[in-house]
């Protein structure tokens, strides 16, 4: 019984299943926009409540957790912005489309989060060193527990959707929500410990949270940075294309396959070798066919450029 349930879950969430079945793309985009909005709302509400309660209730850890939510807001905005604009057609000025906006958002947001968290951690450590820690209010505890549940729900949905849609921004958003759950639970523990007499528990939890946030930020940042560097997609992917293309009768040899991600899309550059006597009209037919073939194989394939070379 359990295995059946597991496999069903895997099918729903596995990128492979999403990649090859005939899903309604529009419905998927709508769903990702919805998750973006929900994540945004939870982020805004969470950050406002946590920071206000954190300041009033004198809990540095809750403020830190609120900062973590703040970063969610930006990453949720990136999802909305990305899904809206990545779909925008390429213009004469931006001939390769707007897919990379997601990566740019990731690098900017990730970099800032790392910086902000370091500042927060340092001030917490100074507090511990100077013994200037104040007793947090009990209300902080309830806020933390409630926000852990809210973020847990958002994480569940956005994680699954990110895999289905292959959207890096959505993945980053899910990552954030996971960190938020852990951080909210830690805040609750910290408050109880501080009230029980361990004066350093609250700022120490704030520092721990900082480590969490920095880790998440580095992942987001690095993802975006690699995308901006035009790093190739994994080798399996290009090898798969190579195998598919070389199976065609007209193609004598596949000389090179390059693929780079641009937001949710993947741009493919192919170079194939054919019979030198083939006419340009015939070669155009082959090119059009190859484009259709690759797009049918994976709906994330964006623009495909095919170079037809005479076989040597």
């Amino acid at each position: 019984m359990a295995t059946e349930k597991d496999s069903k879950k895997q099918q729903q969430c596995s990128p492979r299943a999403g990649r090859f079945d005939l899903q309604d793309t529009k419905r998927c985009e709508k769903c990702s926009t919805k998750i973006g909005w929900v994540s945004l709302l939870v982020g805004v509400a969470g950050a406002t409540v946590k920071i206000i309660v954190g300041v009033l209730g004198r809990s540095r850890a809750l403020i830190g957790s609120g900062l973590c939510n703040l970063s969610d807001i930006s990453s949720a905005l990136a999802v909305l912005y990305g899904t809206g604009l990545s779909g925008k057609a390429a213009s004469t000025r931006y001939q390769y489309g707007f897919g990379k906006l997601e990566f740019i958002a990731q690098v900017s947001v990730g970099g800032l989060m790392i910086l902000g968290t370091v500042v927060m951690m340092m001030s917490s450590l100074i507090d511990i060193g100077k013994h200037t820690v104040e007793m947090p209010h009990m209300f902080v505890f309830f806020v933390a527990i409630f926000s852990a549940f809210a973020n847990g729900l958002v994480y569940k949905y956005s994680h699954c959707a990110a895999k289905q849609l292959n959207s890096p921004a959505l993945r980053a958003d899910a990552e954030h929500n996971k960190v938020d759950v852990v951080s909210a639970v830690l805040v609750a523990i910290g408050v109880m410990a501080t009230r029980a007499g361990l004066y350093w528990a609250d700022p120490l939890i704030a520092v721990f949270e900082g480590v969490h946030v920095i880790h998440a930020s580095v992942v987001i940042f690095w993802d975006g940075f690699k995308g901006l560097m035009d790093t190739s997609v994994p080798r399996d992917y290009t090898e798969n294309i190579r195998a598919k293309v070389s199976r065609l009768e007209e193609v004598k040899k596949v000389s090179s396959v390059r693929a780079r991600p641009a937001g949710p899309k993947i741009f493919v550059d192919l170079a194939v070798e054919v019979d030198p006597g083939l006419s340009i009209l015939e070669s155009k037919k082959l090119v059009l066919y190859l484009k259709r073939l690759l797009r049918a194989e994976d709906r994330h394939v964006g623009s495909v450029s095919v170079q037809v070379l005479p076989v040597r």
């Binding site: 035009d230 780079r260 054919v274 030198p276 006419s279 340009i280 095919v306």
Partner: protein, 320 residues
């Protein structure tokens, strides 16, 4: 060039780099102790230049590497990606300084800074002048535009340092608000520079095409070839200091692939020779005639359907 000059060319950037590092640390230190917001902002200004210069040195080093398996389009984009990061931080830094100084002005809680800040400000003006003159002189001798641009940067730093010195002086002469006003001014300068350079990096990362006139120039150059009837698309994008292009030429449909390739190759080599910024151009040939008769389209649809049905069967089997 003489060996002496080459050695000098290598030494000058480092001298300027270390000069700016020491200057920025000195300004921030004295600014914090003496309570001069203007001096701290000015120190942050020079410090930002230093960090930017350092990151550029590192990324230029990586940018020059040849393309490898994981980076089939080369490493040039790192210049823009690192610039995006630096200038994001710089813009936020400017906002923080702006809020800090603005708050002091609005609340009116301003104290005139200690006169030590004045001395440090004068030293900063003098050092910036020396460094920029040194840079201008060496840059002109060695004919290096980047060195001259750097010297210009130091010259503008000198102007902001002068504003800060005036602010400190004014603050001690009975207008304590002037130091914060100078800080706001410097923060605005940082903000403006940061935002401008951020947008520049942003555009290059989004693969913005070359300016219209340059694209027109390239198109006209290609259309000189007799075999080329038209250009169906010409995409350009910047990768570091170089430009990469994707071009599709329209040729006669009866031409063979061998002939078409010869044309494409000639165009590619000529482009790389003629426009020195173009590092790589992927040139392909096509024709205006449509090879896909309705019958072929129907065939393609069938094949696509068959492949998806097969995939569905596979996933169904896997899930069982």
């Amino acid at each position: 060039m003489e060996q002496k000059c080459i050695d000098c060319g290598k030494r000058v950037p480092w001298v300027i780099f270390f000069g700016n590092t020491i200057l920025s640390a000195f300004q921030i230190f004295v600014g914090l102790i003496s309570g001069s917001k203007g001096l701290v902002a000015d120190g942050a200004h020079s410090g930002a230049d230093v960090v930017a210069a350092l990151m550029m040195m590192i990324s230029l080093n990586i940018s020059g590497r040849e393309d490898d398996e994981t980076h089939p389009w080369g490493h040039g984009k790192i210049e823009f990606a690192s610039a995006l990061l630096i200038y994001t931080i710089l813009v936020v830094l400017a906002i923080v300084l702006l809020i800090d100084a603005g708050e002091a002005i609005i609340s009116g809680h301003v104290k005139p800074p200690h006169m030590a800040a004045f001395v440090a400000g004068v030293v900063a003006v003098f050092l910036n002048y020396v460094l920029s003159s040194y840079g201008f002189c060496a840059g002109n001798q060695l004919n290096s535009p980047s060195m001259i641009a750097n010297a210009n940067e130091n010259r503008s730093d000198m102007l902001s340092s002068i504003a800060v010195v005036l602010g400190i002086l004014g603050a001690n002469m009975g207008f304590p608000i002037l130091d914060s006003v100078a800080a706001v001014l410097v923060a605005l300068i940082i903000f403006r520079t940061g935002l401008r350079l951020w947008i520049q990096a942003f555009r290059n990362l989004l693969d913005e095409s070359l300016p219209f006139e340059k694209v027109k120039l390239i198109k006209d150059f290609i259309l000189q070839y007799q075999a080329v009837k038209d250009i169906s698309f010409l995409k350009t994008r910047r990768v570091g200091q170089t430009v990469w292009a994707d071009i599709e030429l329209v040729v006669s449909p009866k031409m063979s692939v061998l002939e078409g390739h010869a044309v494409a190759r000639e165009v590619r080599l000529a482009l790389i020779r003629r426009f020195r910024h173009i590092k790589e151009a992927v040139v392909t040939c096509t024709c205006n005639e449509n090879p896909l008769t309705p019958k072929i389209v129907r065939g393609l649809m069938r094949e696509k359907l068959a492949s998806t049905v097969k995939q569905h069967a596979k996933t169904a089997v896997a899930s069982n």
